[in-house]
């Protein structure tokens, strides 16, 4: 990439403390449209907190976050409206257990966006179709496998047509044989040009789908670069140690 396109999501000087503990210690990150940025690092390095700060589920202590040029930290910004443009997928799926798959996917369309039930269901079915689960529209979360639940959760975020998707360890709670179906959906999204920020330990996925890998430790970005470079030839000692541990 010789000419860098203007970033769609940019983070500058991001800090976050929980009480006396500083979890993020000055993060700068610019994500280009359609870029898949993969975040790795030891547990407690602040990866999830970084992701959760991107839509202010965690309130940053300091720093600037902009999405499509809109300052997410500004008082005048309607954060609820902006969150619709930032899809989020959680480790524990967090589907609404009292609603069907379609109900999960259409709830925000109806009650936040204000679409009619039939419009919402049309969009909802399209989103379920994208994750290959239109046949499960009437199923409740408890009737679905973990992989299916996570795909419904992805559809729930997709239905709002976000410009960025955040994935917080989307496959960590899944049985190994169910991981593939979720990664397949994520590859699909990448191919369709979705901008994605992914915290995960799926190194093979990182190797062949990520545009950039970021290694975080102690609340800072230690090193970043193309996946093949980070995995094959890490520069920093801490990165080396982490990669060695992972590939052991």
């Amino acid at each position: 990439m010789s000419i860098l396109p203007a970033p769609i999501l940019s983070i500058a000087g991001l800090r976050k403390s929980f009480g006396p503990t500083e979890v993020l210690r000055g993060i700068d990150l610019a994500v280009a449209p359609q870029e898949l940025v993969f975040i790795i690092g030891p547990s407690g390095s602040g990866k999830s907190t970084l992701l959760r700060c991107c839509n202010r589920l965690e309130e940053p202590t300091a720093g600037v976050i902009t999405l499509g040029g809109v300052d997410l930290m500004a008082r005048s910004t309607d954060i609820n409206a902006m969150r619709r443009k930032i899809g989020m997928v959680f480790q524990s799926f967090n589907l609404y257990p009292h609603m069907t798959a379609l109900g999960n996917v259409t709830l925000a369309l109806r009650k936040v966006v204000g679409k009619s039930r039939s419009d919402a269901e049309q969009l909802g079915m399209a989103a379920l179709e994208r994750v290959g689960l239109s046949a499960k529209a009437k199923s409740y979360p408890s009737e679905l496998s973990g992989g299916q639940q996570q795909r419904v959760a992805i559809a729930r975020a997709l239905a709002l047509e976000p410009s960025v998707m955040l994935f917080d360890e989307p496959t960590s709670a899944l049985d190994p044989e169910l991981v593939g179906s979720v990664l397949a959906v994520m590859r699909e999204l990448k191919a369709a040009g979705m901008t994605m920020l992914v915290v995960s330990h799926e190194m093979r996925f990182a190797r062949d789908a990520a545009d950039r890998v970021i290694f975080m430790d102690h609340g800072m970005i230690v090193e970043q670069g193309r996946p093949e470079r980070i995995f094959a030839a890490p520069q920093e000692t801490r990165t080396k140690a982490f990669i060695a541990e992972l590939t052991r």
Partner: protein, 224 residues
């Protein structure tokens, strides 16, 4: 056997006092209905208010809830009915009973709803907020529907227990079932009217208990 029937189920007394008991049933139903509706709504409102975690307001809620849960309802009924007139506030007996039982039910219901709200996993809030719901929207569409389902059994039990306290109306002259039954008992010198009253309570409350069980199964969803 005959003596038993004479004491508890004397036919001519049944005929004579059943109309009074029936009037009592109507009064009991009116008060009970008003107490259940207002008590549960107030309890839910207080639980929602508490979820905003505004310290001074929560302190007030906790003081109110603990007081009304600790005091026997009879004590509150007597204080309000016989005490307040001394400071120039006279409330009709019907209203006293309604007010006191509503506040007691609200106090218990608040604790139960609050526990229900707390038991909904934090991830549900995250999911709601991340799809653009504001705080109240997340509460209304995602958290409360789950919290309320979880609380159907304890709420039903508590509601039945407190609604039965409409019998306290007897001590301040509300003409509900027990009032009617006890005055008929003292006129007739026979326990038959009391048995009629007991029967009336059974007829009244068994459907409520059954409704609770129905709601419990109707609103249950299988957790993964």
């Amino acid at each position: 056997m005959n003596a038993f029937l004479e004491t508890f189920f004397k036919p001519n007394l049944i005929a004579q006092y059943w109309p009074d008991i029936l009037k009592g049933i109507v009064v009991t139903i009116e008060i009970a209905f008003a107490v259940v509706v207002c008590g549960l709504l107030l309890g839910l409102l207080l639980a929602v208010l508490r979820s905003f975690r505004i310290t001074p307001i929560n302190a007030l809620i906790v003081v109110f809830v603990d007081m009304f849960r600790a005091l026997p309802p009879l004590v509150i009924v007597l204080i309000v009915y016989f005490g307040l007139p001394n400071v120039g506030i006279s409330i009709p007996s019907f209203a006293v009973l309604w007010l006191v039982l509503t506040l007691v039910l609200a106090a218990f219901a608040e604790e139960i709803f609050w526990a229900g709200i707390l038991s909904v996993p934090k991830g549900q809030w995250d999911a709601g907020r991340s799809t653009g719901f504001a705080y109240l929207g997340t509460l209304a569409w995602i958290v409360l529907p789950q919290a309320i389902r979880l609380t159907v059994p304890p709420i039903t039990n508590r509601t039945v227990a407190i609604t039965k306290n409409t019998a306290l109306g007897m001590v301040i002259g509300v003409p509900e079932i027990l009032s009617q039954a006890t005055s008929a008992q003292s006129f007739s010198g026979n326990a038959t009217p009391l048995m009629l009253g007991a029967l009336a309570y059974v007829i009244l409350f068994i459907p409520v208990v059954a409704l609770g069980r129905f709601l419990e199964t109707r609103f249950a969803w299988r957790r993964s």
